[in-house]
Subunit: 350 residues, 4 copies
């Protein structure tokens, strides 16, 4: 089979690999469509060490090609959606409810970091009964793909933000994760959704997916702009969807006492510390809280996200700015590196 | 009346002041006993700016001397306990449930910072129906005093820590707040309480109030010691009860993925930032959370703390290392500055 | 002033009364508009005992006519919205967060049951700083009125229902409270909202405010219909918005294991017991929970509801089927008794 | 192997059966000790239909005899503790966190109801990595046995009861589950634990395990006694540990507005309905909630319960009133039917 693989720092290539083997609890999926994630750009840049030849990708959907002997909830030929995070369901962290930390910190993230990813013609899924969600007939592959990472991450950002019904929330940065956080903050009943973004096309997208207001961080202090929009109070909830220390600090500054800062930004390129500004943190006594999450997986959650798509509650396909056949995936990946042509998410079809 | 007041940076003195006046919702209390809090030492050192002549103190109990016309839940002569934090009960933050942030960040802390404190023969209490708890006959003033700050803060530290029943918790530093956090972590059902403390007398006290193990930070890396005690996992919950950036970082390092860092330490003297070590924070995606609190007040909570004392569940009077009449309060305060004679809490009687 | 008052069981009349007096924490409001609530129909029928001459009404908005000396958050002439429930903010139940139970069971409900209601030219509000919310300029009186009872009750129904994002919810009965529960279940991110209603006009309204499907209880067993719509699972959440024992039982039958039954129906006319069907309750071990609420009040909550209206998230004015000047309020009340002309909510203007 | 089996309604017998077979994710345990549970008495009486020859028992510990090929967290010869409830960890209800409802209502309860139980020389455990907890060396089999049902059920009763720290709780009936609920309510920080029990030996045991007061239901109305003990307020939390409609009603009557009724009693013999007394339920609007649970399982939880035993926090072995070798298990079972000699829990050794 063909697969997009890491070759060396900064370089990817489509290579030939055998179709993966499987155990009794696992499945192999024949890929029908995929999205490229900026995480892979970070990985190829060297932020996460992986061996040469490791397949990239963690946002794919497809059809069950083989199912292990113990797998009971799907069969060959079923159309399925698979989250980027594939927990085992039985380790300590899974039992505690922190399935993204399966087996250890960030351990639910297995594609590419622990084994081959799924930007390939076929891919392996561990613990298939835990991880495969049936794709509803009424949904396109493109729609379903957004549940695998963007929507579940955006939803985690909004859930962790403790937004009171009718409350105020600021979503920092409107890349794909930020746009989905905006969408999900709105879905969960926020009364004022403030998006923070300077690029005009992303600002426009933010409004389409649910922002009431977009503020431009190049036009003055962000926290000050947010305080002004909230009668000096600050927002109930701030969502960090960029992964930058300054943004993280602004989240704390823009949040009112008792508010929540929900981080879904990836701080892997941010040096080795984040800073908390103490005055706005109430010297550690302001009843503010900081919560973090990594793209929660599991069939049951993906089924709920698919239901939101079936019901037309949200439309994440607004994020698909480009489309390529798998034969042009190297070109698509290169565009995600350069961010040329205002690319947000490229759809790859197999 | 006589009162212990701030004179200038580094200097306090007993001065003469009029007995406070009151409005229809307020009360004036005749003080019968008090404890000195390290917060006042910080304040006198200049960390919080207050005018000369401002009365110190926020841990006092006494008898109702006068009650405003609208006050219905107590009458003159009643023995009452008053939390250090005295919320109004009706502002936005109070209605949101963040009563310590009454009227604005840290605004529930009114004694000394907004008006005269209560290390005085009489003291004023706003919103008496919200803030005065009847002192049960079976309790001594000394017992009741511990609910006004130490126990409610320690309990907030333990509550915010999300300790699973039978879970593991580390309490960093065994000063008065840390000791009460240890006591309360044990009270709420922790299965392993690890206290962090180097001073032998405080380590011994920690064991008396509920620690299973005490580790000495001078004997090697604290996080490493905690990981060793928890089979490499880290604790479910860490409580920062010192107010120091290194301690705060160690809390994050010692906590397992999905765990909670609960801050009750006062970071007013810590420079102007706290740092989060990113690898142990899962690069912002480790499902860890950081929560903060300031000494929650209100009659209803104090009544529950007094009930714990009545039932003999905890004994915070183990922290009383010294006793003075109010006539020697200047000497007692000086000992809290120097921490001589292993002082933990000095009881002042009126 | 003129006021709509209870005369005797089954009879109401507009009478003359003095404008109410007030204390230092209270306010008197000059009414500009009101809605009639079915609760008053129950009351007049004799379900709640009140003295003759007691003024009815608890859904009114207006302008501050007088404010007590201690009131700081509004002044005479301010346009304000007042919840039907007016807690004191300082009693035990208020401090515990159960403000609708202010001072005792259901004690936050003061209009008509404890003192004159607000279907009158002027009305008294206790604890004005706690209870008066400024009405935003951009909102009509009609819009604001829906926050005073219908929206806050509907929101409580949806909040207590523990609806997972994208989860399934059934709302039993589409009277005013049911319609607002449907609206709010949708607002909070439900993926499938099933409304239960037989009357065609209400079924149509349910779809307008957010139902995905409406099922007709006269067309077969309701629980069976819901099980069929949810692949045999039952819903995550059921909201009882009628106040009838059969409906309550159906909520339990239609809910999946681990699901929540949220009651906002008023069971005052239901005889003196509710029954729980044990098989569908897992013999008391099915991880189901039953929660209840009474129209939560307080300025902070009303401000969030008003914000939802300002942002156009919901439109409860769809429920206004009839409009009357206050001079015809007796006629309007009579229509609420007979439910003639498919009346849902009549707007009364002053 | 020998096993205690159901023969026909009202009759049990030790029979010969083959040692169970296993699949790749399962384990077979060689039993070393067991407790008899009253649930089995109900089952043998005919409350749950099971085929003749079905092995009884669900409270056993032992040593791993065989482990399936995919099992990674234990190996043959390991001493292990197994909860009475053995969820799969991957079905929808498990993913939702309601593992006791694994695969459907009450479906986590597999021993005896779905397959052979474990009052036998060997027993089968599905999903061994999810369900086997290593028994610490420092604990006896007798201690470990109490985690398999009594302690986890009692803890669920206390957790679901939402007891505020220092709050008040009433535990209705002091059978084994009630005694463990009392123990766990105390463990989680209740300030007043009221046990309800008429038998003197059980009343005495209740005090030993943590009750502050025991009230006798034969000495007057229980709810009235509880109201008197709580200054007319009612308790914050009531735990139903009997499984009787009158007890359930008393729980609602004894609970204050905003309080929680936590049911762990088994209502299988109670006819087919439970009743809710409406006045004390606030006509469905008193902010009371009713929660239910079934003996939560999973290794991670059992490890925490074992840790509580290691730390000496609780001593459930006080409940062991009788001891028998497995050869006398029929006699022991008969005593559990007749409740003669004040039997609470009989320990069976293999």
């Amino acid at each position: 089979m063909k697969a997009l693989a890491f070759v060396e720092t900064g370089k990817v290539s489509v290579i030939e690999k055998p179709i993966p083997d499987l155990g009794p609890n696992d499945a192999v999926i024949k890929t029908t469509a995929a999205l490229i994630c900026t995480s892979d750009v970070h990985t190829v840049r060297g932020v996460i060490a992986i061996p040469p030849g490791r397949v990239l990708g963690h946002e794919s959907v497809g059809i069950v090609y083989k199912a292990g002997a113990n797998v009971t909830r799907c069969k060959e030929g079923d159309r399925v959606t698979v989250c980027a995070i594939t927990p085992c369901g039985h380790c300590d962290n899974c039992q505690r409810g922190f399935t993204s930390q399966c087996g250890g910190m960030l351990g639910g993230y297995k594609f590419t970091t622990q084994r081959d990813g799924n930007m390939a013609e076929y891919f392996f899924v561990n613990d298939a009964d835990y991880n495969l969600a049936p794709t509803p007939k009424s949904l396109s592959d493109e729609q379903a793909l957004y549940t695998t990472d963007m929507m579940t991450t955006g939803l985690a950002g909004a859930e962790n933000a403790n937004i009171p019904p009718g409350g105020t929330v600021a979503v920092f940065a409107q890349g794909p994760v930020g746009l989905c956080s905006t969408m999900m903050a709105r879905l969960l009943g926020a009364g004022l959704v403030i998006a923070v973004e300077s690029k005009p096309d992303r600002a426009a997208l933010a409004k389409k997916v649910g922002a009431d207001v977009v503020i431009d961080p190049t036009q003055g202090d962000v926290a000050a702009q947010i305080l002004q929009l909230t009668h000096g109070e600050g927002v109930d909830s701030a969502i960090e969807a960029l992964g930058h220390p300054v943004t993280f600090e602004n989240c704390i500054k823009a949040t009112r006492p008792g508010g929540t800062i929900s981080n879904v930004g990836y701080h892997g390129e941010a040096g080795n510390t984040l800073s908390i500004p103490l005055p706005e943190f109430g010297l550690g006594m302001g009843d503010k809280q900081i919560r973090t999450a990594l793209c929660p997986g599991g069939r049951e959650r993906i089924v709920r996200l698919l239901r939101l798509l079936e019901a037309g509650r949200v439309d994440p396909t607004l994020l698909t700015t480009h489309r390529f056949p798998f034969s042009q995936v190297e070109r698509a990946f290169q565009m995600m590196v350069t961010k040329e042509d205002n690319i947000v998410k490229p759809l790859i079809t197999f």
